[in-house]
Structures are given as C-alpha cells and as structure tokens.
C-alpha cells in the first residue's frame, strides 16, 4: 500500500530534480550575485544590496518596455501568420501533411545565428529585395530596413514562427471533424462553426504557441544585434544584460536585470494563463 502512495512522488522525482538543479539553484545563485558588490580584481561579497533593483529598473525601464512591446508584436504577428498555416496543414494537408510539417521545421537544420546573419544580407539596403525595388524605382534610394525596430520584429517573428505553428498544428490536428460537421448541421455558418468549435478547441495550441513565442522573444538579443546592428533605437533588455555580463563585468547588475526579467515574464505569463483559463486547456 505504502508503495502505491509513493509512486506519484517517485515519478515526479526526475522532473523535480531537473527543476532543482537547472532552475531553482541557478535562480538562487543569480539572486545572490545580484545582491553582491565588488569587482573582478577584488572579488565579490554579499552585501544584501537590494538597492540595485530599483536602480537597474530605473535605468533600463525603457529597454524592458521595448522588449515587451517587440515580443508582444512578434507573438501577434506569428499568430496571424502561423494560424492559417497550421490550419491549412492540419485540415487540407492531406498526404502532404508530413512533408509540409517537415518544411516548417526545415530551417532548424541550420543554426539560428547563421539564418539571422543571412537575413541581414538579404535585407541589406542594396540587397536582393530592396536593391531590386530601388532599381525598379519602387523605393526611395535612401530607404533602409535593417537597424529599424520593424526589422528586429521581423527577425524575431521569422525566428520564432515554427514555435507557434507546431503547437497550433497539434491542437488543430486532433479536433474531431464530426464536431464541425455537427455544428454546420445545426445551422451554424462556417464562420460560427470555426469560431465556436475549431478555434475554441485549438485554444491549448494558441496558449502554448504564444508562450513559446513570447518567452524566448522577450529575452532575445541576437536579432537586435545582428539585424538591428546594435542601434540604440532597438536595444532590447537582452542586449543590456549581455553588455553588463560580458563587456562591463558588472555581474550584480546583470544578475539583477535577469532576475527582474524572469519575474516580469512570470507575472505576464501567469496573468495570461489566468485570463485564458488554463483549466479548460488541459482537457
């Protein structure tokens, strides 16, 4: 009997250990580093310097807000682009389903960084896209796209789109088609049937997709650096954290910024899950 009662805990053990070693302990270390003072030469001592939190938020709130705006825009765009794609593959993919899904994940065969670097070449002022449009007289010669906020959002959307499509596909795929049939039999218009049956049943995918897009996007620093050319207009919080860690060796500030980001994302995600209602989604 005792053995049976222990089973759930034993099953939780690997996951729990994982969380402890790779999440809880690093978070505790980060919290501790953020409250230390010192330098590379002299070493760091824990001084419970809580003042660093208001200080870094005061100094970098702009980059926090910018990151949130970019990540939200990215999520919305990825949803707009990804939903029709996932829908088409799931409902009209037919025999090509597997091939189409393969095409969606194909870019992952090449490193994220290399793909981003290549976009920079494609989107350069006189590159294949804008150079051609300029030479055709459709764009002003001085037009540029790289290093603008739009270009960074473009890069983010491109890079995280598959993370939106795949969970949406999974959710749409398993919808029982007879439910839609039943809805139309009961005189629902196609739009009503989509909205009340298909979309509602795909909500778990919507939530999973938006979290998988939003969370990595808000902490991203590659797109702002590579496609955004490190322009001050597009610096995200990830770029600041990178500078603080790697260039300035200001570990406490970097740790504090990271901690604020983690907490901020947690709050946003919790609010979102609450609003959408996760309890409905697990069924």
């Amino acid at each position: 009997m005792g053995r049976r009662r222990l089973t759930p805990y034993l099953l939780l053990l690997p996951g729990g250990l994982w969380l402890l070693v790779f999440f809880a302990i690093p978070m505790a270390i980060m919290l501790s580093v953020s409250l230390q003072k010192g330098s590379l030469d002299t070493g760091y001592q824990l001084t419970w310097n809580f003042g660093i939190y208001p200080a870094v938020i005061g100094e970098f709130w702009e980059q926090f807000v910018r990151s949130a705006v970019y990540a939200l825009t990215t999520t919305a765009l990825a949803m707009l682009i990804g939903y029709p794609m996932a829908y088409t593959i799931a409902f009209h993919g037919g025999r090509l389903k597997t091939a189409l899904l393969f095409v969606v994940i194909l870019p992952f065969f090449v490193s994220f960084v290399i793909r981003t670097l290549n976009w920079r070449m494609v989107l350069s002022d006189n590159g294949i896209v804008f150079g051609t449009l300029k030479d055709a007289g459709m764009l002003d010669q001085s037009f540029h796209f790289l290093a603008t906020p739009a270009s960074v959002i473009f890069g983010l959307t491109y890079n995280f789109l598959p993370f939106m499509i795949l969970p949406l596909y999974v959710a749409l795929e398993k919808i029982d088609r007879r439910l839609i049939e039943a809805a139309t039999d009961l005189y629902a218009s196609r739009l009503q049937a989509f909205w009340r049956i298909t979309f509602t049943l795909s909500l778990p995918g919507v939530v999973a997709g938006s979290l998988l897009t939003f969370i990595p996007a808000i902490g991203d620093f590659i797109n702002a650096e590579v496609i955004g050319a490190g322009s001050p207009q597009v610096q995200m919080i990830g770029n600041i954290i990178q500078f603080k860690y790697i260039n300035a060796n200001d570990y406490p500030a970097a740790a504090a910024l990271s901690f604020v980001l983690v907490i901020g994302v947690t709050i946003l995600v919790a609010a979102y899950s609450r609003a959408v209602g996760t309890e409905r989604l697990t069924t």
Partner: protein, 422 residues
C-alpha cells in the same frame, strides 16, 4: 528612370560573390560568418566560461616538444580569423613550424573579447592553477593587468634570437610592458575611419566628418567602448591616456547629440565590415587591417584614414600564462613567428601590422616569384598588400594608446558608454 542594366546589376550584386573571388577571399568570406557568429555572440567565450574548450585543430608532426615540457600539443588561444589558413583548413605557418621544431600546436580560437577571456582564466590563475593554455594573444591592457597580478611567466630572451634580430622598433617596449619582459607583439592595427568616396561625395579627414548630419543613418559606429571613446576624446582634443571622467562625460554628450539625430545606423561589432562593403554604410569607424582586406577582396572603393585629430593604436600580444606546461615550446613558437619566413606567410593572409622587419620586402619578393610562375593574381595581391603590413611614420605619429583604466574608471566609462549605446 532605371534602365534594365541597372536591375541586372542589382541582382548580380545581390546574388553574386562580392568582388573578385580569389582563393583567399573565398576562404576569408566563408570564414567571416564564423567570425561574426563567434565574436558577436562570443559563443566561444561562453563555451570557455563553462569550462568547455571549443574545438581546435592539431597540426600533426614528427618529433616531439622540448625536453622540459609536458607531453601533448602546445595549447595556443588566439582570436578568430587571425592566422593563415589553407583550403583544407590547415594553418600553413603552423604546419611549417611543427616540421621545423617537432612541436605540435593545438590552435584554438578561444578569445572573442579581451575582458571576457581574462575572466575565464582569472580564477585559475588566482588559485595558482595552470590555465591549460601555453600561449595566449590578448590585447595590451590584459597584458598589463596580468603582469601586475603576477599571472604571466617572464620571457627568456636568450631563447628568442629572432625577436632580438628582427623585431621592428614600433613593436618593442610598449606602454603595457616597456621591457618586453612578459609579452611580444603578435599583430596590430589602427582604429580609424573608412569611407566610400562615391557615397560620401567628399574626402573625409576628421572624426567630426563622421558626425556630419549629411551622413545620418549611413554612418557606422563601433560597439567597442575603448575605440569609440578614444576617437571621440581625440576629436575633443584630449589624449585618451590623459582623459578624466569629465572628459569622457563630454565625449558621451557629443555622441548622444549624434544619436539624437540618428547619426549612426548601428553600433557594430565585426559585422560593420559587411555593411560597409555592401554600401549600406557610406562611412564607418573601422580597423585598418579589415579595410586592406576589403580593398583586395570586397570593395575597392573603400578607403581608410587615420582622422587628422588622431586614431587609436592597438595590438595583440604573445604571452605565456603562469603555470604553463610547455614553456620551452612556447618560446619556440614566439621565436618562429619573429622569423621573416613564418611572419610573411602569416601576413600574406591576414594583412594587419606585422612586428617583423623584412616582411614587407619578403612579400614583394614572393610577388615577383608568383609573377615568374605566371600567377598574376597572386602577384598583384601581394603588391597591393605589401605597403599595408607596416605602419607608416605618419600613422605612427598620429595614433594613440588606450588609457590604462583602473577598475573604478572602467566601471564609470562603461556606464557612460551604455548611455550612448542603448
């Protein structure tokens, strides 16, 4: 009214290889992606920080290392794209070194950033443990700090006859190590301004030209704090070595003013190169060696100038970290790269300032040999390259060193810099 030819040219420009595709430029271009990936993200440094050594390559060899040395290959940490490399991914100058001396070298591109690299070896050094490296090639201020903290082995000059015989005057006795007790110059260059005269429409002579509102959004800046503040301070008439925090605050204000009108398209790392070569930037802060390469391979219009108000001088340096296991082999390596032959093979590929007298002449001699063999391209390449591997009197007179920053100053400068760059 665009004509068809222009569209075709635009497509060719976008899809075709940039510039003349010589053997070297191909290698360099294919390597550049790795360079950008490596240094922009400092992946190598992240790996190094985790205690995982990024993969290097070993030059196979007969024979063995010096008797007193530990067994195994000499471990050399260098920056990316900072050595000669052939089609098969071998390093010709290192292969020759191993043939001559029997010392194997494990060459690793482990330095993506000075501060970061120092951070990865500091703890071992402080604890008195070996770092695993036998030879490192960081910038000047790292040498100064490591020497001050007792983290470097003293060099034995009796084992460095080539240095005594061939080291150029400008490469000896630098501010961070006046007697070359701990370090020898590896390669160096100048941070100045590069521009495409067709795009700027005029000649560029000063740092303030870079801030000309006419170049708003087509000017490029660096993400490197020391380079950017250095050039800005010089434009304010302050020598960086004497700069106070007040001076740097003024430099910050000057750059913020430029930011207010979007003067700079971006604050670039190595990737300014592609933007400038492609014409996205008309003018940019630049490293001298890069522009030599750009003229030879990617865009012959682009010119490099040392601003009239001064440019920044820098170089990277061989040094042996305390506790290195193969000090004998390390000396052999240093001595080898001060031989004209090895130094020339290196310079033919990377085009920075060499510290070795006679390299310029040897490059020209090899040009003649290529011409005699009928390799006109290689001969032309060498002839254009030759004058750029040695700094001119003028360049030396008008370039300045970084300030040796205390930790406190460095933190203050970094904070001011972050206001400019974000």
């Amino acid at each position: 009214m665009p004509d068809d030819g222009r569209i075709e040219r635009a497509i060719a420009r976008a899809l075709g290889p940039r510039g003349r595709m010589s053997r070297r430029s191909f290698l360099r271009q294919s390597g550049r992606g790795a360079l950008i990936a490596g240094s922009a993200l400092t992946l190598q440094s992240i790996l190094a920080a985790c205690g995982i050594r990024p993969g290097g390559s070993t030059a196979a060899s007969p024979g063995g290392p010096a008797a007193s040395d530990a067994t195994g290959a000499l471990e050399w940490a260098n920056w990316p794209l900072y050595i000669d490399i052939d089609d098969d991914g071998n390093y010709p100058s290192l292969v020759a070194f191993t043939e001559q001396t029997g010392v194997e070298v494990n060459y690793t591109e482990a330095i993506g950033d000075n501060a970061d690299f120092f951070g990865t070896i500091r703890q071992d050094l402080q604890a008195g443990n070996p770092t695993g490296w036998d030879v490192i090639t960081p910038g000047g201020w790292v040498i100064e700090r490591m020497a001050r903290l007792g983290f470097l082995e003293e060099l034995d000059h009796s084992q460095l006859p080539n240095w005594t015989a061939n080291a150029a005057d400008y490469a000896k006795g630098l501010w961070f190590d006046p007697e070359n007790k701990y370090s020898l110059w590896w390669q160096g260059g100048i941070t100045g301004i590069a521009y495409d005269p067709e795009l700027t429409g005029r000649e560029i002579t000063t740092f303030d030209d870079l801030l000309d509102p006419a170049f708003a959004e087509v000017a490029g800046a660096f993400s490197d704090m020391r380079d950017m503040f250095g050039l800005t301070l010089l434009s304010l008439g302050v020598e960086p070595e004497n700069a106070t925090v007040d001076d740097v605050t003024r430099a910050r204000d000057k750059l913020l003013e430029a930011n207010a009108r979007n003067q700079f398209r971006g604050y670039y790392g190595n990737e300014y190169y592609d933007a400038l070569a492609a014409g996205d930037l008309a003018i940019s802060v630049a490293w001298s060696g890069d522009i030599t390469q750009m003229q030879l391979n990617d865009n012959e219009n682009v010119r490099f100038v040392v601003p009239a108000d001064g440019g920044m001088r820098w170089n990277d340096n061989f040094a042996i970290p305390k506790g290195a296991a193969r000090i004998g082999g390390a000396h052999e390596l240093l001595n080898y790269y001060y031989g004209v032959d090895g130094a020339t093979t290196l310079s033919e590929y990377i085009g920075y300032f060499t510290p070795v007298d006679g390299v310029q002449e040897e490059i020209l001699a090899r040009a003649q040999a290529y011409r005699d063999e009928g390799s006109t391209d290689d001969a032309d390449y060498n002839e254009i390259l030759a004058p750029t591997v040695v700094p001119t009197e003028e360049q030396l007179a008008n370039t300045f060193n970084d300030k040796q920053l205390t930790e406190e100053e460095e933190a203050e400068w970094n904070d001011l810099w972050l206001e400019v760059s974000s």
